[in-house]
Structures are given as structure tokens and as C-alpha cells.
Amino acid sequence: MTSRRITYALRPFALPAVLLALFEWYARRAAAAGSDALAPPSAALNAWVGAALDGSLWQATGFTLGTAALGLAIGAGLGTVLGIALGLSRRAAQMGFLTIEALRPVPSVALIPLAMLMFGFGVRMELAIVAFATFWPLLLLVQAAVQQVEPRLLEVGRVLGLSARDRAWKIVLPAIVPRLFVALRLGVAVALVVAVTVEIAANPNGMGYAMMIAQQSLDPALMLAWLGWIGVVGYAINVAMLRLQRAVARRMGVPA
């Protein structure tokens, strides 16, 4: 690797490195002056290693990711099925319009106390909120994707004499796969954010809660460790979903 390529590859890390260095310097000064609100990144890294070694990191991360995934499966699954149905049938879409517009704007966090009431604390409560939050974007995006299937392809289906079932299976469904994966990528992002938010607000489980507890026990190093870890996990998952989405687009012959 030429030195030019090395510097190019390291460029994304330049700004974060500078910011972390500044933060390190400032936090150490603050700590020396007696503040317990901040901790230097080096201490946060230590705290992270500690949590990784004693297992609490993996347990909380597993809870958040697992619950988010399950909630997504439910919400995105239902949203996709309903989205396809509403996309194929204009009448159904028209009939459902007001109901969707009435229920959709409710912020998912508003349902946290209700879910608390119904399910207590734990997996089910978080699942329900994540499912609600991921249902709507998928419903709308899949519906739009079905409605926007290239009309020429549908005409080709008619001219070739394909049955309605064949048209749906061989043309509509493959045609929406790329946009389905774009919607899924969005759904994954929403699921993660909502899961962490529910844990911060109410649910005593998972990464968000671990971060809250660290703050409340006046352990800023651990709190920052969790904040950074949440960021890293979210970023990694999003990058993976982007790769998946692009691979699917390439396979289906669509410009990524």
C-alpha cells in the first residue's frame, strides 16, 4: 500500500481522533477539578473492557438486539403483508386511508406507559413498542413500492397472458424486492433507536437501561462507555444493512 492510500484510508478517523483527544484533555481537567459528570475516553474504554469481561456488556446488548429484531419481525412482517395488500387493491387502500392517517402520527414513545400497564416491564413491553414503530414505515413504503411497479412490466404480463396470481408472484413480488430491502434497512434503524429509547425511558433491561444506571450511580466512565458502544453497534448494523441492500439491488438488476 502506498503512503497515499494509507493516508486516504485513515482520513475518516482524523476528525474523531482530534475530538476524542480534546475530550480526553478536557475531561481530565474537569475530573481533577472535582467534577463527576464527565470522564475521559480512556476511562470509558476501561469501563467498556470491564463490562465486556464480566459479561454485562453482552447480556444487555443481546437483550436490546434480540428484542429489536423480534419486534421488527412482527412489525415489519405485518406492515409488509398489509402494504402488499393495500398496494394491489386501490379500494382497500382508499378504505384504510383515514384509519392509517389517524393512527400513524401517534409517537411510539407515547405508548410506553400503556405498554407498561399491559405487560409490565420486560421483553413484551419493548417488543410491542418496536412492533408499532416499525409497522408504519414498512406499510407505507411497501404499499408505495407495489403501486409503483413499472407499469410496462404489468402490461407485458397482460400481453403474455399471465394469470393474476402469476402476475403477482412473477412480476410484482420480484419487482418490489429492492425497495423492500431499502424499507427493511430503515426498519432496522427504527427498531434499534426505539428499543434503546424504550430502555432509557422505562424498561429496566438492555443497553439503554445500563447507560441510565451508570449515570445514576455517578459512574460517568461506564455511562460514556455505553453511549459509545450504542453508537458503534448502531453504526455497524446500519453498514451491514446498507451492504445487504446494495447486494440485493445488484442481484435484482436495479441501479443501487
Binding site: 476528525l15 382508499q94 386511508f97 400497564l117 425511558a201 441510565m212 451508570a214 453511549l227 448502531g234
Partner: protein
């Protein structure tokens, strides 16, 4: 025209049907009234809380006002700083290449995750919540602005160079209008985040507002007050989105043929 009327009535019928189902389910006790209050009880609670016809104390009105103010103030601050910073970053490809990767890392971070840090620094007070609302909601606008400036049609940049347009003029006359659709979309997303963070902030920092109100209602098993609060939050979400949508359509009239 007749077809549109028919589709509206069909839609209304479906919605009315669901409300009827709600009414039956709650009144007949299919679902416990602890979780599902009757529609009448919810409306009564709304009436009391909003002090309609002098029916009650009107605390819901105060809570709504508090939440909406928090949301709006945070959103305005977020939009202002988002656009300014985004323009500064987006206008220069060099700056973009250094900064963009860091922005991409921040993008997936939940805005509410900043609350513990903010509590740590600022303590439990309204200013803290406002700070997190503004800071958290800034990123969609910032990222959208950067993208909007980054995707200026290269032909237009060449035109500007031929005309020897100064940098500031380029930003105002070409960059900003070009970025407007992206910026408005970012502001729409930002509004959603503002509402969410405002509500979560109220819940965990015990700040007066709808967020705290519904949390307390749930803890006290007051389902009608809880549902009343949820309805109000839904209305806030709906109204803010609708108004922004209208503004967007007016500002982007040039996009429509």
C-alpha cells in the same frame, strides 16, 4: 368527484367501524378497562383536561402547551444550527470529505441516548431537556443540508464559475435553493425527533408536560387520562406534520409541473 366522495365515505366508515369496535370491546369488558378505557371516558377526560366548556381544571392544556413549546423551540434551534453548519460543511468538498464519515457515525445514534449525559452535565431541569431536543434533532437537518449542497448539479457550479460569482452569492442563490427539498425533508424528520425526545425527556426528568402526565396516569392506573394524553400526542404529531407538509408544498412549488 363522485368517486372521491365514495372513497372518503368508505374510509370514514372503516374508521367509524374501528371506533365502534373499541366502544364494544371496552364497554363489554372484552378487554379489561384497566388497559382499554371506553371512548366516552377518554373523551370525558379530554374535556376535563382541556377545560372545554369549563368542565375541569384544564391541566392537560398546560401540559400540551409545555410539550409543544419544548418541541417547537428545540426544533427551531435544531433547524437553524443544522442549516448553518450543514451549509458550511456541504459547500466545500474538502471539508465534506474530512467530516462526512464522522457524521455517518452519528446518524444512527438515538437522540434520547444523550439524555443521561446531559443529565450528568446539566442536572434535571427544563434547560437540559431543551438542549437534548435541539441537539438530537439537529442531525437530520444537518445531514440533509450537507447532502443538498453536495448534490448541486455540477453544470450549475460551472455556470457560477463562468459568471465569477462570489462564494456567498453562490451559497445563497444556487446552493440553498438546490438544497431546499432536502432541508425541508430533514426538518420534517427533525420535528418527529423533537416530539419524541421532548416526551422521553419529560418522562425521565420529571418535567411538566404530556410525557410526564401519561407516565403518572399509567402508574396510577388512570387509563382514561392515559388515553387522553395519547390522543393529544397523536394530534400534535398529526398537526405538526400536516403544517410542515403544507409549508413544504408552497415552498417547493417550482418542483411541480
Amino acid at each position: 368527484m363522485k368517486a372521491r366522495l365514495a372513497s372518503w365515505t368508505g374510509s370514514l366508515a372503516v374508521l367509524a367501524g374501528l371506533v365502534a369496535l373499541w366502544w364494544v370491546a371496552s364497554n363489554a369488558g372484552w378487554v379489561s378497562r384497566v388497559f382499554l378505557p371506553t371512548p366516552e371516558a377518554t373523551i370525558a377526560s379530554l374535556g376535563e383536561g382541556l377545560n372545554l366548556h369549563g368542565a375541569g381544571h384544564g391541566e392537560l392544556l398546560d401540559f400540551t402547551r409545555a410539550t409543544v413549546m419544548r418541541m417547537l423551540q428545540g426544533w427551531l434551534l435544531a433547524s437553524l444550527f443544522g442549516v448553518l453548519l450543514g451549509a458550511a460543511i456541504g459547500v466545500s468538498p474538502a471539508v465534506r470529505s474530512w467530516v462526512q464519515p464522522t457524521l455517518e457515525f452519528i446518524r444512527p445514534l438515538p437522540a434520547s441516548a444523550l439524555l443521561p449525559l446531559a443529565i450528568s452535565i446539566f442536572g434535571l431541569n427544563p434547560g437540559m431537556v431543551l438542549f437534548v431536543v435541539a441537539f438530537g434533532a439537529m442531525w437530520p437537518v444537518l445531514l440533509a443540508t450537507v447532502h443538498g449542497f453536495a448534490t448541486v448539479e455540477p453544470r450549475l457550479s460551472e455556470v457560477a464559475r463562468c459568471l465569477q460569482m462570489p462564494r456567498a452569492a453562490f451559497v445563497c442563490k444556487i446552493g440553498l435553493p438546490n438544497a431546499m427539498p432536502d432541508i425541508l425533508a430533514g426538518m420534517r424528520l427533525s420535528m418527529t425527533i423533537s416530539l419524541i425526545v421532548a416526551v422521553v425527556g419529560e418522562m425521565i426528568a420529571s418535567q411538566s408536560g404530556l410525557g410526564q402526565a401519561i407516565l403518572l396516569a399509567a402508574r396510577a392506573f388512570r387509563a382514561n387520562d392515559l388515553f387522553a394524553g395519547i390522543v393529544l400526542l397523536g394530534l400534535i404529531g398529526f398537526a405538526s406534520n400536516a403544517l410542515l407538509g403544507l409549508a413544504e408544498r408552497r415552498l417547493l412549488r417550482w418542483q411541480q409541473p
